[in-house]
Symmetry: C2
Amino acid sequence: MVAVRTGQRQGPTAGEVAAERASGGEVRWPSGFLAAGVSAGLKKNGKLDLALLASRYPARAAGVFTRNRVQAAPVVVTREHLQGGVLRGLVCNSGRANACVGERGIADARAMAEEAAAVLSRFLGEQVPPCQVAVASTGVIGVPLPMERVREGIRRAGADLSPEGFEAAARAIMTTDTRPKVAGVTVALPAGQVNVAGMAKGSGMIHPDMATMLAFILTDARVEGADLTGILRRAVDDTFNMLTVDGDTSTNDMVVLMANGAAGIDPGEDALERAVTAVCLDLARQIARDGEGASRYLEVEVRGAATREDARRAARTVASSSLVKTAVAGADPNWGRILAALGYSGASFDPGRVTVSLGPVEVARGGVEVPFDEERAREALRAAEVRIVVDLGAGPHAARAFGCDLTEEYVRINASYRS
Amino acid sequence: MVAVRTGQRQGPTAGEVAAERASGGEVRWPSGFLAAGVSAGLKKNGKLDLALLASRYPARAAGVFTRNRVQAAPVVVTREHLQGGVLRGLVCNSGRANACVGERGIADARAMAEEAAAVLSRFLGEQVPPCQVAVASTGVIGVPLPMERVREGIRRAGADLSPEGFEAAARAIMTTDTRPKVAGVTVALPAGQVNVAGMAKGSGMIHPDMATMLAFILTDARVEGADLTGILRRAVDDTFNMLTVDGDTSTNDMVVLMANGAAGIDPGEDALERAVTAVCLDLARQIARDGEGASRYLEVEVRGAATREDARRAARTVASSSLVKTAVAGADPNWGRILAALGYSGASFDPGRVTVSLGPVEVARGGVEVPFDEERAREALRAAEVRIVVDLGAGPHAARAFGCDLTEEYVRINASYRS
């Protein structure tokens, strides 16, 4: 939990620092929100698989959705519900994606919203329309939801709603994740504090475009007049979208932001954006760290790009190159693979002007190897958090991508390729 | 060895059949070509690492090269040499890519051509200019070639040149390949026979864009007037390029075609293209079968696409999806992953019109699951050669992509995702 200074805009740095420091501490969930996570019998062994989030007050809301041509039913329904710009709650199941099941999928997603709206109406003591409930699903594609279990689960979640339910909710949205992912930032203002916190699931860093990524960000900030959609879109662009390859997404990806104003304080659009970005960045990094089969977190920073898009593309391409990832797993400073990945990234640059560093060790300059201490370079790749920095020497733009290494059989072949 | 009928153009089918049948038999190398493979000490343990190909007669030649922005020195030099349209030989080393080593790389590639030209001049008893020698390299990027060893290797290869040297040459160009890859087709014509044969290396199906792919195709056909470059480009497009993701290529990829006319027979442009395509297809499939860590060959056919590019894109995307590949490895008929991959392929289609078959088992129609025998579907995925057929229901275009499954740790997590 950390203070984000407000005032003049300082770029992502402030938010970033906040996020780094925030991820260590305990998350303070925003006022006026409640959560529950229950087992509805969608996963085996009584694992939590249904989450319900509720706001005591109407929350202004925005969403960012998958760009996959095949869109899961909950994506269609939630997009529709967000047109009103107000949410009172969110229901999410794991175990089944509710995608590619035909007309029935839409009906089931609507039924989830209706059941949750009924539960929330009883709980909050006022009428909540189904269109004020967001719906999300994650799990196997092509298998319909067992709706009786889902309905029963929603009812039990409604009975469990509490300000202490966020951890259970974060567990209930997991699929192959090995741990729940939550993050929070507190913004200190003269008038008091505003909290922004969120939960996410996703663990498929090897093919992030396919492993559903869900994130729900909550804040008690008052946000009258703020462009919530713009804030969320920009925050997602520099964080969750830098986990993905070329904007490829699963059928179910969704990030939802809800601001219920319970803190009674409007931090201003810039401070809010920094805080939301900080929470998204923290969650994105947690997803990268939890990459399927990963042993190391990998962050790739590209500087000196001619355009912002070039920087983003180059960073993502290097971070998602299997050969770079296996070199990291094998702690092999095979920097040529980085150059080759840059070469097919689509970014514009002169190979003869590229500089590459592995952690603190510069290994190439002007596109060719510089003398470097092999053992130090290996050490930089053996760290739990590996950082590759590239300067393209082509302009002023920079971007970072978040990933992880690639282990095992494929590694056995590729990691020791040089020796 | 198989006859390709000539006459009216029959599309890729004839060539395809020829290739399937050809891959079983022994390859008949075209007349007037010689080859050698030696160990120049670039790889460890005295493995073969330098190949030399020679033609007794000036051969008309064409090449197709990597589209990576970072191009290895031999790519630059060979592209230049092919401007003359005539080759007498080709020299290729493995172990070092001769890429990203600065100005020196170009000088080294030129020196390889010069040394080979000198050797060929002595061997053939006539002056061979260096610009009639193609140069190729594959191996580690960023490490210069040990030129004394390379020169010495070229001289020894020159002394070894023989019509029986192709197998050794095919071995000498291997890197992580587990076996050499050669293929041949004989075209029977009233006037006699024409042979087309080739060798290839490449084994990185998990990230084909990064694992160097080299192929050298030779024919004794007389090809006066034929558009060799067009023939090669079209052949590569439907074969080697369907191994790759979105045209991404390594720094060193190269396919070279040489036609020396030694058979004294001109088969006509169509027959030649069919035969070249058949050889390329056979080699491409061998590369897919030898995919790093692969246990199964995977062929994805997409029909009913609105455009040719849509068909190609969709087929390549499905064949390269890690989640599809792990489902194949785990023999899990999780067809939703196929639909999701189609969805982010960029192809235009209505998800509600898609049909998916795993081998002979139709699993989805109209975008939703049809009742199918789970055990039969699993069996289709357990075959050594797995075939996925998709109909997009959007038009008349079709394409095939060639790949393999994805095994091990990543599989442990993903293959059993449904259970």
